[in-house]
């Protein structure tokens, strides 16, 4: 098992004819993802060559979902068009299948465009958005698996650890840490570091709680906002599996945006210290050094009786 994407997921690529779209559709297909087609307005009727298959390009998401039965869409369109792409995907999934998963990789989307996109999701309970400005979601399989995004697939292996992170490369670091103690992953989700985005930590934790194969979770936060504190408080009451947590930005100065639009300590709020304290108060096992996540996780698994040594 896994959450939200699995080996049977059928994936569409919005922006498949662009350089990013083609590049990553190829990598996804290579990994084992079932890429069933793509959408680029103005290029409907064309095809795209992927490793071992040729897939159709559709004019619209409605056409693409109807024709392929896809339940997942990944967005690689430029920032100024990305919010419309999210809304188009949400409407198509809602109308045709009653739901679906949208993964938006695009970085630099205007914040108020995202506010409007999320507004459009509020009456479509079956539609889930991950991102934007994120590496995507991956469920490693026995052979291959389902990779929806830009992460390097080969660093992952099927296993029992769930990973949730606001950051891209720091997610890979967390994956490498689980691998360093011989643990694989059920599903890894990069939720993105923008101030306004779709799926949050709590949504992921709730899904991992329900997933019988996930036995522990690594949660990677960063400065800014209160999502980590909210997740910790929620987990204390609702999450039964062990969590290892890290927060990036303990040395970040206040008032300075650290790369991600949302990574800013403003008005003295959103510091790493507050988040670490919230983690500890909620019984989350804290790693102060991301290179120590593996060892902390190992200790936690042993303590929980999930591993001998």
């Amino acid at each position: 098992m896994s959450i939200w994407v699995h080996e049977e997921s059928k994936v569409l690529v919005q922006g498949i004819t662009g350089s990013q779209g083609t590049f990553h559709a190829t990598r996804m297909e290579e990994y084992g993802t079932d890429v069933v087609g793509g959408v680029t307005p103005g290029k409907g009727g064309q095809t795209v060559e992927l490793p071992g298959r040729t897939v159709p390009v559709y004019e619209s998401m409605t056409e693409a979902v109807s024709d392929t039965g896809a339940d997942v869409s990944v967005i690689y369109v430029p920032a100024r068009f990305a919010a419309s792409a999210i809304i188009e995907a949400a409407e198509a999934f809602h109308k045709i299948r009653g739901g679906g998963l949208i993964v938006c990789i695009t970085e630099g989307i205007p914040t108020l465009d995202m506010v409007r996109s999320i507004g459009h999701l509020s009456d479509k309970p079956g539609v889930r958005l991950i991102g934007p400005n994120c590496p995507g979601i991956i469920t490693p399989g026995e052979q291959g698996g389902c990779k929806v995004g830009i992460m390097p697939g080969y660093i992952h292996a099927k296993g029992r650890i769930g990973i949730i992170s606001k950051s891209g490369t720091l997610t890979y670091e967390a994956v490498a840490q689980t691998m360093s103690i011989g643990e694989g992953q059920t599903t890894c989700i990069g939720i993105g570091g923008d101030p306004v985005s779709g799926t949050g930590f709590i949504d992921c934790l709730a899904a991992f709680e329900e997933d019988p194969e996930t036995e522990a979770v690594v949660l990677i936060g960063e400065i800014g906002g209160t999502a980590e504190e909210d997740a910790a408080a929620w987990a204390a009451d609702n999450f039964s599996k062990p969590i290892v947590g890290f927060v990036a930005g303990a040395t970040a100065p206040p008032g300075k945006r650290m790369g991600h639009a949302g990574a800013i300590i403003s008005g003295g709020k959103g510091t790493a210290e507050e988040k670490f304290a919230a983690f500890e108060a909620a019984g989350i096992h804290v790693a102060r050094d991301p290179s120590a996540i593996g060892q902390v996780l190992l200790g936690v698994l042993i303590e929980a009786g999930l591993r001998e040594s």
Binding site: V115, G249, G259, S291
Partner: protein
């Protein structure tokens, strides 16, 4: 992107939000002409910098560093006072609780007609990341530090959220006016203003608008006596006019230059330069350097599209900082391949004349090849495979730590 008060008020005026008449000046002569033209005996002479706390700030002589005047915002009731305040402000350094000890040199002044104030309120619009919508906050405690109000009397702050699809409703506008205890013409004036402000916020892609104080005049009109406006940089493509409002002197020159090379850079006070791919990993690298007893000199994310040019630019920017005594490169290869980064490092160090210890941590795509490229070069470099080892090595190399 932030703009000055006088620029924010010009946008308010265009959006039909009441402000006092005022004139932007860059010299004492202009300030005197402005005073003559405003036709108001009492005027406010206001320092224009991108930082709050101006009223309680202190002005220091630009050359001698001597205290020149208390308060960066002054009320003048004569031509002589305007002259005195303007000359004390322009060209001198204003230090407020938000500027840091060095303060900011004031090059711009706003001379604004006085106003008969019945009461001061607080008003702000910002993006609420938890609610995924625009939040409006109002308070009867105007002129105060809002964080202090939130801390001490949270019940004095009233909130409303703008519906992302339908905008701010009439009932919400009236409820906000009611929450401030407004009646009669002031109630109507507020309702009209808040609607226009919410439209302006969305129309101009703002990330924050703060009016502190918003005042009710003796005549029952709501007037924005201050303005603090920030824009969402991601939306700049829709608003090319913003370029004209940019005050380069308010921006960190190095950060702007870094951005042009596709880098995200923030200068810090330590002595270990960092070059990392990914914002989260870049923050984590700084944190781990600190854990091992070092002090990071900067945040630097080379981004997903890094190449030889941007990596060379990154080395150049790091080494411009005279405090830097060593550099830690931390790359987790994904789309970026470590061997490409290794070759770029070799070229860049030759180009910029690298003269401090260098530690490189590679993991992920082609990390073995990357290591080989570095180790077979003439470059003096320590390579490691974990971040902790890298941090320990660089702290050791510069003779720091415990």
């Amino acid at each position: 992107m932030n703009i000055h008060e006088y620029q924010g008020k010009a946008l308010f005026r265009e959006s039909g939000i009441a402000v006092q008449d005022g004139v932007h000046c860059t010299s004492v002569e202009q300030a005197l002409t402005a005073y003559d033209s405003l036709g108001s005996q009492v005027v406010a002479v206001k320092s224009q910098i991108h930082a709050g706390g101006r009223g309680k700030g202190k002005l220091y002589d630009h050359d001698t560093g001597n205290l020149v005047m208390e308060g960066g915002v002054k009320i003048a009731s004569s031509r002589e006072q305007v002259e005195e305040y303007a000359s004390n402000i322009l060209g001198n350094r204003l230090v407020t609780k938000q500027t840091g000890v060095d303060g900011k040199t004031v090059g711009n002044l706003y001379v604004e007609a006085g106003c008969s104030i019945a009461h001061e309120y607080y008003l702000a619009l910002l993006v609420d990341r938890e609610a995924d919508s625009v939040l409006i906050m109002v308070s009867t405690e105007g002129g105060m530090d809002i964080e202090e109000v939130a801390e001490k009397t949270p019940e004095a702050i009233h909130k409303a959220w703008v519906d992302p699809l339908n905008g701010l409703g009439d009932e919400q506008k009236a409820a906000l006016a009611d929450s401030l205890g407004l009646t009669g013409s002031a109630h109507g004036s507020f309702v009209e203003m808040i609607g226009r402000l919410a439209e302006m916020f969305v129309g101009l892609d703002c990330s924050m608008v703060e009016i502190n104080p918003l005042v009710r005049t003796e005549g029952g009109t709501m007037v924005a006596l201050d303005s603090k406006v920030s824009f969402d940089d991601n939306a700049s493509f829709r608003h090319p006019w913003r370029a004209d409002l940019r005050d380069r002197s308010e921006e960190e020159e190095t950060e702007v230059r870094a951005k042009r090379s596709g880098l995200s850079y923030v200068k810090l006070d330590g002595n270990i330069g960092c070059l990392v791919n990914g914002a989260g990993l870049a923050m984590a690298s700084m944190d781990v350097i600190k854990l091992y007893g070092g002090e990071p000199a900067n945040f630097l994310d080379i981004g997903g599209g890094a190449n030889k040019e941007s990596i060379t630019a990154a080395f150049g920017i790091i080494l411009e900082d005279p405090n830097v005594e060593g550099i830690l490169v931390n790359i987790f290869g994904g789309i970026i391949r470590c061997d490409m980064v290794a070759r770029s490092i070799i070229d860049a160090s030759a180009e910029v004349g690298l003269n401090v210890p260098l530690v490189v941590r590679f993991s992920g795509t082609n990390h073995e090849q990357g290591k080989e490229v570095l180790e077979s070069s003439d470059l003096s470099v320590i390579t490691t495979s974990t971040l902790a080892e890298g941090a320990e090595a660089i702290v050791g190399a510069i003779g720091g730590g415990d």
